[in-house]
């Protein structure tokens, strides 16, 4: 039984177990991947007959020349750059602090993780109230410090900052938990022998902690990047089904949604989807490469 040759019967038997997953994923994942690529190169597409005409790169040329898409790409990268480094640094800091106070760690960990399990849409609704120009708590706090009120949701200059603050807050818990796992997997002897040799806590941090948790740091960075590239829900809620004042909150996924669902321009939306796919694929390849070559669990 152990070193038996594989038979047709066995293969058929296994396929029965695999069939539900294979059928569903083929219909809703594999076919759509191919279909999106095909849609993106159609010149014309009829939704009702699901038939396309003419092949070419017109849709990509359209994206290339569309100022709105430029805005979307620019904003998406601003968003990623605004969220990811800050989120990694803050969550590492909090994880380090939590490790210092092991008695209350569990309690604080629960609190820090709360936003992560909540619906983005619902909690974004709460933040629209916090961000409110006239009655919001945030502007009230600014006033306490004698700072002028900010039109968080109305001033186009603040749109990206508004989205970035919310998104850091929302996803901090995940990074904290994963950093805690990494920090606790560093052998305690390293710190012991370093302190015997007279290393300061800062030296221990930079010479032991940082290098040893670097694989986790890297993976979290990539994961956070992938998630940030797909930002959508909070924009929808903050700006009531628009991309913000003067489209100042337009991102790639919002652009895709707008072209597809609002303007029914399926081919351009698909082309935007392909662009998103390529960006995320590059990030994923990098992640897989690193986790294969540098990360050991």
């Amino acid at each position: 039984m152990i070193n038996q040759k594989i038979s047709w019967k066995q293969t058929l038997h296994a396929l029965l177990y695999l069939a539900p997953m294979m059928i569903l994923l083929s219909i809703f994942f594999l076919y759509p991947i191919i279909s999106t690529f095909i849609l993106s190169v159609f010149k014309k597409y009829n939704f009702y007959t699901n038939a396309g005409q003419g092949i070419g790169f017109d849709n990509f040329a359209y994206l290339w020349h569309d100022p709105m898409f430029h805005q979307a790409v620019k904003n998406t990268f601003i968003f990623v750059l605004g969220v990811v480094p800050a989120s990694i640094i803050i969550s590492l800091g909090i994880a380090l602090l939590l490790n210092r106070f092991s008695k209350v760690r569990g309690f604080f960990q629960t609190l820090y993780f709360l936003p992560y399990v909540t619906s983005t849409v619902a909690i974004a609704m709460v933040w629209t109230w916090i961000y409110h120009s006239d009655y919001g708590v945030l502007n009230f706090i600014l006033k306490l410090f004698h700072l002028p009120p900010v039109g968080w949701l109305t001033d186009p200059h603040y749109t990206m900052l508004t989205l970035i603050i919310f998104s850091i807050w929302k996803n901090l818990g995940l990074n904290i938990i994963l950093f805690l796992v990494a920090l606790n997997s560093v052998p305690k002897q390293y710190y012991l022998s370093a302190s015997i040799d007279g290393a300061t806590p800062w030296q221990q941090f930079t010479n032991i902690t940082v290098p040893l948790i670097s694989p986790t740091t890297f993976l979290l960075t990539i994961n956070a990047m992938i998630a940030s590239f797909k930002v959508f829900d909070q924009i929808y809620v903050f700006y009531h089904n628009t991309a913000g004042p003067n489209n100042s909150g337009m991102t790639i996924v919002y652009y895709l949604y707008q072209k597809f669902y609002v303007e029914n321009n399926y081919t351009v939306a698909s082309a935007a989807g392909v662009v998103l796919f390529v960006i995320i694929l590059l990030a994923t390849i990098l992640q897989n490469y690193v986790s294969k070559h540098y990360v050991h669990y």
């Binding site: 293969t11 569903l24 999106t36 849609l39 709360l114 936003p115 009230f140 797909k230």
Partner: protein, 274 residues
């Protein structure tokens, strides 16, 4: 020594401040929910109203058909999770314990589905479901998520950790694969299965973009979609809006507080594979 103590106090205060920032929006949501609109708009803001209007929750619940939305969300979440766990357990078992031709090829093909942004698949899936006249049905909300290679991948790792001898012993005792899977393997790996189940419940309950796109019939909305469009129903009545947000958030928080151990386990096991 005192310097160290001082530093510790400072660090602890930073942690407390951070925790307050994390929790404040939840507190503010509840606090605003039980205010009158004019109390909510007061400057300086009142932390907690003198006479909390708990009845706001009841009124908000009836300001839109939230009973219906709640049922929709429950049906979709339970069915999606059950279907996804069932298809994933079967597939993970085959990948982990069975021998068959094309195993690696099939695995690699479906592995690619993990790298694709779901947002990109929305257009073709929308077309598929309109062509099969499934728009505005529970099936449209459930079927696309009834299988997940991420879940298969994670469960396969858990199954791989069970030594093959257990499988051979069961086979020698005359158990069929089906019986071995459900009476031996699944119970052994129950903590991984529970962890993945809860993670899927959370993500299914909170899902927004897909349910919004496939339900233009208000009766088919799930809770997050209903909350996002609730402003159309109540305008700027922030207490009602906060109450509506509470309906979506509280069930997941209760679930999280009760089952935190499993959620953390699922996150730390699954979170790093991608």
């Amino acid at each position: 020594m005192t310097k160290r103590k001082l530093a510790n106090i400072l660090f602890f205060l930073i942690l407390v401040l951070g925790a307050l920032i994390m929790v404040f929006p939840f507190f503010w949501m509840i606090s605003t929910s039980v205010k009158t609109p004019s109390e909510a708009a007061q400057i300086p803001p009142m932390l907690w109203p003198k006479h909390p209007h708990w009845v706001n929750f009841v009124n908000a619940f009836h300001a839109a058909p939230f009973g219906r939305y709640l049922v929709n969300s429950l049906i979709v979440t339970v069915c999606t999770t059950a279907a996804q766990m069932f298809t994933s357990i079967l597939a993970a078992f085959a990948f982990s314990k069975l021998k068959f031709w094309g195993k690696n090829l099939i695995f690699m093909i479906f592995l690619t589905t993990m790298m694709v942004p779901i947002e990109m698949l929305i257009i073709p899936n929308y077309v598929t479901l309109s062509e099969t006249h499934l728009m505005n049905t529970y099936l449209a909300l459930i079927l696309p998520w009834a299988a997940s290679f991420f879940t298969v991948f994670t469960l396969r790792q858990a199954f791989n950790a069970v030594p093959p001898q257990v499988y051979y012993a069961a086979k020698i005792d005359g158990a069929s694969d089906w019986k071995y899977l459900w009476t031996v393997l699944v119970p052994i790996c129950r903590s991984s299965i529970v962890a993945m189940t809860i993670l899927e419940v959370i993500s299914s309950w909170n899902d927004f973009m897909w349910p919004m796109i496939v339900t233009n019939d208000p009766n088919m909305r799930t809770l997050p979609v209903a909350v996002a469009s609730f402003t159309n129903d109540v305008g700027t009545n922030y207490p009602y809006m906060m109450a509506a947000a509470t309906f979506v958030i509280i069930p997941m928080i209760v679930l999280y507080v009760i089952l935190e151990k499993y959620i953390i386990q699922g996150i730390t096991k699954g979170g790093l594979v991608g």
